[in-house]
Symmetry: C2
C-alpha cells in the first residue's frame, strides 16, 4: 500500500462524531435494497402476498403504529447505553466496530443464514472457513494442517479446546483397548523421541503422548483394521462413551492404578471462565492448578517447571496447560516461547507432555502486527521503527511467533478484531483432532454432496448447533478491508498500543498531588492499570475504598454522566500472590501476608483499555489524555472526600 | 385487539416480495440516524476526529473503494443463499424474521452492548431479563420464582440445563458432607412425601430428592451455619470442586457403594446435540438412555415407566429426563402431562425422582397459542374455533400447560420466535438452582451497585461470557409487537399450523400415480413428513434411493435452482424402533427386523417445515400447495428415472 495507512484508518469506523455517517448509511441502504430486489427477482410470477390495499387496513396501520412506537421507545432506551465509540471511554475492551463488520453483519442478517450446515447457509459456511484459515495463517499455523471455526465467544471456544484436549489425552488408552480386542500391534512415539509398543506402556506413559503423536497413532489404527470394527472398538474404550465415573473404575481395574486425576494448568491470570469450564466438563475445580505469574503478569516458566516436577513426582497426568495471550485484566502476553521450552524439557527429562492451549481470546489479533502483507514475519525493530515506539520488544515478538506451536488457540474477533458480538473462534494446529468430538446429525447428513469436501461436514465437529452466518460475513468483510497484517489490523492495533503507552507515560509523569499514582508495568498490549494512593490512607482497606470510589465516579453504573469512563478489577489471592508484591511495596500499607489474609477483598486496581486508535493522534483531534488526567485527579478528590466524610481514616 | 390479527400479520414481515420494503427501510434508517445523532450529541466540544479534508485523501478514498467493492462482492455471493422468505421454501425451520426483531437487532447492534454485565450493557441486560420473564410467564412459570436468560442457541441452553441438573442431583450429598463436618442436623423431604434426617439416608435416597426439596434443603443449610463456613464446607463436598473421578472414589469410600453411574433419559426423538452434551459433561454417551416413542413420535409414558422400574431395580440414579416439545424431525410434542404422572408415580411407588427438562427449543413458542392477551389459558375448543381447524387437541393443550411443571425449559426465539440468530433461552422453574453454577468474575464484581438487585448478577450464573445485547433487543421488540398470546405469536404460529395441515391433507389427497405417498401422522405443530414409493421398488435401499433422489432434485445443495425446496432426514435404529413400524408396513419392502439390520442407513424421510403464515391464505395470494404437489411429483419422476438408469431395480 503506497498511501498512508492512517488515511485508510480514518475510513474504517463510523467515527467518534459519526463523521462517516454518509458512507455508513449508503452501504447499509445498498445492502438492504440489494436484498429487497433479490426477493422481488425470485419467482416474480408468484404475485403479491401483501397488497397495497391491505396496507390501508386499520389492523395493518395499528400494527405499524405499534412497531414504530415501540422502536422509538427502544431507541430512547438505548441512549442510556455506554458511549464505547468515544475516546472518553477508557474501560473495558469495547469500542466501535469496523464499518465493514457492521455492514457485513447487517447484509447477511437479512438472509439469516444458519451456519450449522451448508444446506442452511451455502455462502456463509464457506466464508466461515475462509476466515478461520485466515486466522490460522495469522498465528502461523499451516493452512493444510490446521482447522478452525467461529463460536459464540471465548468461553465456548476455550471449552471446545479443553473438550478436544481431553479426548486426545485419553485416546491412547482407547487405542490400547481397541488393539487388544482386535488383536493388533501398534507403535507410538514417546515424548523423549523413542518409539514403543502401545501394549507395553503403563497408564502414565499412555497419558503422556504428544498431540501429534496421538493423532498419528489414531490415524494408523484405522489402517490396520476394518473401519467399522475399529470405530466400534474405539468407542467402547473411550471416555466420551463410558463417562468419567465408569472410566475411572475401568482404569483402576485394568491398570491396577487409576493415577491421580488429570489436571489443567492455567496461568494465574487466566479468565474466570476456566473455572466454569473445568466444573462443567466434570474435571472439577480442584484439578485447576494456577501457575504463578511474574512481575509482568505473565506465566512464570520457572514456576511452571516446578509445578510439572511436583506433578510428575505424584504421577499426575496434565490434561492441558493454558497459556494466555492478552490477559483480560492487564493484556499480559505469556512468554509462550519459554513455555514451549519448558514443555520440551519436560518431555526429555520427565517423559511428560501435555496439550498446550493459548487463550488468545483477547490478544490473538495482535499477531497481525508481526505480519507483512506478504505473510512474512516482521522483526521487532521493523515494527518499532514503523510505530515510532519502543514496542514491541523482541521477546514479545517471539511470544507471538510461538503461537504457531500451540496445539490450539482461542481468539475472539469480537475483541481486538473490532467485530460485533457474537464472534469467537477456535483454531486447531492439527485438524485431525476435530474427529474426536464428531457427532452426526441425522437431518443434516451429508449424503448427496461430494464426499470429503470441507464444507459439508462443518457442523459435525463443533459444539454449538444453529449459529448466525452473519457473524462469518462480518468477520470476512472486515478481513477484506483490514487485512491481518501491518497494513490492516496490524496498523489498527499498533496505533492503539501507541495510544496506550502515551497514556501510560502521561499517568507516570503527571503530578496528582496530594495523590500518588501507582502503575503496573507497561502493558504488553493496550490495557493500562493503575491505582491512586493518598498519604492519609493507612490500610489496604482504605486504599481499596479510595479506588473503588474513583471507579464509581468514573463509571457508567454511577447515576451521573462521567466525563471519562474507566473500569476496575480486583487482584485476589492466591492467583496474584507474588505478582502483586511490587504494588504492595509502593503502597506501603500492607505486607504480602496481610494482603493474602484479606482474601477476596484483594487489591482494587483501576483499569483502562485503550481500543481507540485515535487516542495517539496529535491535535487538532481532541486531547483525551489530558482530559483523562484531570478527570482522574478530580475523581480521586471526590472519592477521598466521600471516604473521609463517611468514615474518617 | 378489535382489528383482524391477519391485517397485523401482514405488517410483521418484510414479505415474500419485500412488499414492506418502504416500512423496513424507514425504520432501519431511523435507527441508524438516531444512533448517528446520539454520537454527535455526546460531547460535541471534543471536535472532529475525521475531517472532511481527510476524506479527500487518496488513502481514504482507496480504502472506501475497497470496502464498497468487497461489499458488492459479498452481496453478489449472498444471492446464492437460500430463499427462506418464500413460500417455495418448505425445508428446515427457517423463514423470514419479524421486522421488529431485525430492526431491534440492528438498532442495538450499532451500540454493540455486551450482555455479560450491566456495566457493558445497562439497557439490554434489562431487556434480556424482561424477555426471559415474558417467556417464563408464557410457559406458566411463576414470575417471582422463575428465572431465565438468553443463550447463543439451543445446544448451550440444553447444556446449561443438564449442568444445573447435575449440580442439583449431587447437592444433597454435599450437604450431608457439610453437615457432618459442621456438626449439623438437617431434614429433607423424600419423593413419597415423608421427611427424613439427611444423615440417615443412603446414597440412593440422597440422589432421589425432588428439585424443589433439594433447593429447600440448600436454603435451610445456609441458615444453620455461618455463611463462610457453609460455603467452604459445601464446596469441599461438591462434584463441581472434586470432579467426577475423585467424587466417584469418595462416594464408594463413604457410602460403601458408588451406585451405578447416573443416567440421562431422553425421548428417542431427541436432538443429536444431547449426545454431544453428555459426552462433554463427562457423563458419557453410555449413560444416555433412549426412551422409545409412540406412533406419534412422542415419548411413550409406558416405556418410560418400564425404564424407570428397570433402573430402580439396578439402583441407578436418574440425573434428568429430557422430554421434547417439538421434535426437530417431526415437531412432535411429548405428552408432558403424562410424563409428569409417571414421575409422580415413581416418587410414590419407587421412591425415585429426577430433574425433568423440556427441550422446547423448537416448540416452546407454540405455548403462546394457548394464552389469551390477559394471560388466561384458552381451551382447545376456543382455539379450534378461532383457527377453523381441528387442531389443537385437548391432549395437546394439556401437554403445553404441563410445561409449567418442568424443572427447566429450553426455548429458542430463533426458531418459532422468528428472531435472527443467535437467540436461544433457558428457563428455570426455581431460580435458586442458578446459584449452584455461580462463578464470580473479578473484573465484573458487582460492588458499588445496589446489592441483591437482579440486574447486577446476571453474568455470574450463565455459562457464556460476552454475548450480543442486540439479541435481547431483537427479542424484546418482537415481543412488544407480537405479544406471546393469541393476538401475536399465537396467531402467527396458529396460521402456520393451519398451513401445515392444509399441506398435509393435500398430500394425502393428491394422486401421485404411479407413485404412492406415505405420510407420517398429522404433525403436532408444523413439520410434515412423507416419502414416495413406486411399485418397481422392492427393497428398503431402493426406496431410500428414490427419496434421496427426490431430496436432491428439491434441495439447495443441488446445482439447479429448484422450484420448491424441501429437506430430508434419516430415521435410524434404535431411536426409531417401533415408531417406524407403520411406515414399514405401508411400504411393504422391509420388515422391522430388516430395517434394524440396515443400521445407519435407516429410512430416508422427506420433510417440510411450514413456517410461512401465508401458505394457508386463499387466492389471490400464490397457491404454493398446488405448486408443491406438482414439483414433488416431477421430482419423483426424475429421481426414479435416474435410479433406473443408474442401477435397475
Amino acid at each position: 500500500m503506497n498511501n498512508s495507512p492512517h488515511d485508510a484508518l480514518l475510513s474504517w469506523f463510523l467515527g467518534p462524531q459519526a463523521e462517516n455517517a454518509d458512507l455508513f448509511e449508503r452501504l447499509i441502504t445498498e445492502a438492504l435494497r440489494d436484498h429487497v430486489f433479490w426477493r422481488r427477482n425470485y419467482h416474480p410470477e408468484d404475485g403479491i402476498t401483501i397488497r397495497e390495499l391491505d396496507k390501508r387496513s386499520a389492523g395493518y396501520e395499528e400494527a405499524v403504529a405499534t412497531l414504530t412506537q415501540e422502536l422509538m421507545g427502544l431507541l430512547a432506551e438505548l441512549k442510556r447505553d455506554v458511549p464505547f465509540f468515544s475516546g472518553r471511554y477508557l474501560g473495558h475492551m469495547a469500542y466501535q466496530q469496523t464499518i465493514a463488520s457492521q455492514v457485513g453483519y447487517f447484509a447477511a442478517m437479512l438472509y439469516n443464514p444458519n451456519n450449522v450446515s451448508p444446506e442452511a447457509a451455502p455462502v456463509t459456511t464457506r466464508l466461515e472457513q475462509e476466515v478461520a484459515q485466515q486466522m490460522a495463517e495469522m498465528v502461523g499455523y499451516r493452512r493444510d494442517e490446521a482447522w478452525g471455526h467461529l463460536t459464540s465467544g471465548g468461553t465456548v471456544a476455550n471449552f471446545e479446546a479443553l473438550w478436544i484436549a481431553r479426548n486426545v489425552l485419553y485416546l491412547p488408552v482407547a487405542v490400547v483397548g481397541a488393539a487388544q480386542s482386535l488383536g493388533l500391534d501398534l507403535e507410538v512415539r514417546l515424548p523423549d523421541g523413542s518409539n514403543a509398543d502401545i501394549g507395553q506402556l503403563d497408564l502414565s506413559q499412555l497419558l503422556n503422548i504428544a498431540n501429534r503423536d496421538v493423532l498419528d497413532l489414531w490415524e494408523r489404527s484405522w489402517q490396520v483394521a476394518p473401519r467399522e470394527d475399529m470405530a466400534r472398538a474405539l468407542a467402547q474404550h473411550s471416555l466420551a462413551t463410558a463417562g468419567y465415573q465408569d472410566y475411572g473404575r475401568r482404569l483402576a481395574a485394568e491398570y491396577g492404578d487409576a493415577l491421580p486425576d488429570s489436571v489443567v494448568l492455567v496461568a494465574a491470570t487466566a479468565h474466570y471462565s476456566w473455572e466454569k469450564i473445568v466444573r462443567a466438563l466434570g474435571i472439577g475445580s480442584n484439578q485447576l492448578i494456577y501457575v504463578p505469574v511474574d512481575g509482568n503478569y505473565r506465566m512464570d516458566p520457572e514456576a511452571l517447571w516446578d509445578r510439572l516436577k511436583a506433578l510428575h513426582a505424584r504421577r499426575t497426568p496434565v490434561l492441558a496447560c493454558i497459556s494466555v495471550c492478552g490477559t483480560t485484566e492487564e493484556s499480559a502476553v505469556d512468554r509462550l516461547d519459554l513455555v514451549l521450552e519448558v514443555r520440551a524439557r519436560a518431555g526429555q527429562e520427565l517423559g511428560m507432555t501435555f496439550h498446550l492451549h493459548s487463550d488468545a481470546c483477547y490478544g490473538g489479533y495482535a499477531a497481525s502486527v508481526i505480519r507483512g502483507p506478504d505473510g512474512v514475519r516482521r522483526t521487532g525493530q521493523e515494527i518499532r521503527d514503523a510505530l515510532g515506539e519502543d514496542w514491541p520488544s523482541d521477546e514479545w515478538v517471539r511470544s507471538m511467533v510461538a503461537l504457531a506451536d500451540a496445539d490450539s488457540i482461542s481468539i475472539d474477533p469480537h475483541k481486538l478484531g473490532y467485530i460485533p458480538y457474537p464472534a469467537g473462534a477456535i483454531l486447531l494446529k492439527d485438524r485431525r483432532a476435530r474427529e474426536l468430538v464428531a457427532v452426526d446429525p441425522p437431518y443434516l447428513a451429508p449424503a448427496g454432496q461430494a464426499e470429503g469436501t470441507e464444507q459439508e461436514y462443518l457442523g459435525r465437529f463443533i459444539f454449538e448447533g444453529s449459529k448466525p452466518g452473519a457473524a462469518a460475513a462480518a468477520v470476512w468483510l472486515s478481513h477484506k478491508v483490514l487485512p491481518l497484517d501491518e497494513s490492516g489490523y496490524g496498523y489498527l492495533i499498533g496505533r492503539t498500543v501507541v495510544g496506550a503507552r502515551q497514556l501510560y507515560r502521561a499517568l507516570a509523569r503527571h503530578d496528582f498531588a496530594p495523590f500518588r499514582i501507582i502503575l503496573l508495568p507497561e502493558p504488553d498490549i493496550n490495557i493500562v492499570c493503575y491505582l491512586l494512593h493518598h498519604p492519609l490512607l493507612e490500610s489496604l482497606e482504605a486504599v481499596n475504598a479510595l479506588n473503588e470510589g474513583v471507579y464509581q465516579v468514573m463509571s457508567v453504573s454511577a447515576k451521573a454522566d462521567p466525563e471519562y469512563i474507566i473500569t476496575r478489577t480486583r487482584f485476589q489471592t492466591p492467583m496474584y500472590d507474588r505478582a502483586v508484591d511490587p504494588l504492595l511495596e509502593q503502597l506501603g500499607v500492607a505486607t504480602p501476608a496481610e494482603w493474602t489474609a484479606a482474601g477476596k477483598e484483594g487489591l482494587v486496581v483501576l483499569r483502562s483499555t485503550v481500543m481507540d486508535p485515535f487516542l495517539a493522534d496529535p491535535p487538532p483531534g481532541p486531547d483525551h489524555i489530558s482530559g483523562f488526567l484531570d478527570a482522574l485527579a478530580d475523581a480521586g478528590a471526590v472519592s477521598l472526600a466521600r471516604l473521609i466524610g463517611s468514615s474518617p481514616v
